[in-house]
Symmetry: C2
Subunit: 88 residues, 2 copies
């Protein structure tokens, strides 16, 4: 068994993981249970991984983190905008 | 400037990102806005990255994903247990 399959599994699940959360948050606007600090860290992590992928010219690293950065930026935007609404 | 610094940033933010979410969810038990499917994918991703780290004998990959798997398993457990409570 080629053990590199774990790398493919990991890449696949990482790439798609934030799509259901983004869809759910767009639909429900329910951000009360979401940690803003977690999404700031995740966004910075994905952006750093993406930049690291550009530095290494590593296409899978760039592609995966382009997707996660995109989904996380939607969730982050909704957390901030819904909390601002709630404050006004 | 040594561009590998983006890799260190990425590793650091990835490792700590789920700690605030775990603390928040333990304290508030507010899981209504959290996507179960996202946390299943994240858990499978971290577990696969950890296993890939073991295969490659890559200590940073193992350490980072040991932490994320641990934090995510707490959040996943709380999502499932709080929803089961709500159903009963």
């Amino acid at each position: 068994m080629d053990l590199i399959i774990f790398g493919y599994f990991a890449t696949f699940f990482s790439a798609v993981s934030f799509l259901p959360q983004a869809i759910k948050t767009i639909k429900t606007r329910d951000v009360s249970g979401l940690s803003l600090l977690t999404y700031i860290c995740l966004f910075l992590a994905s952006l750093s991984w993406f930049t690291y992928g550009v530095v290494l010219n590593d296409i899978p690293l760039m592609a995966t983190n382009f997707l996660t950065t995109f989904f996380q930026s939607i969730i982050l935007f909704l957390i901030i905008s819904e909390r601002n609404k709630a404050d006004n």
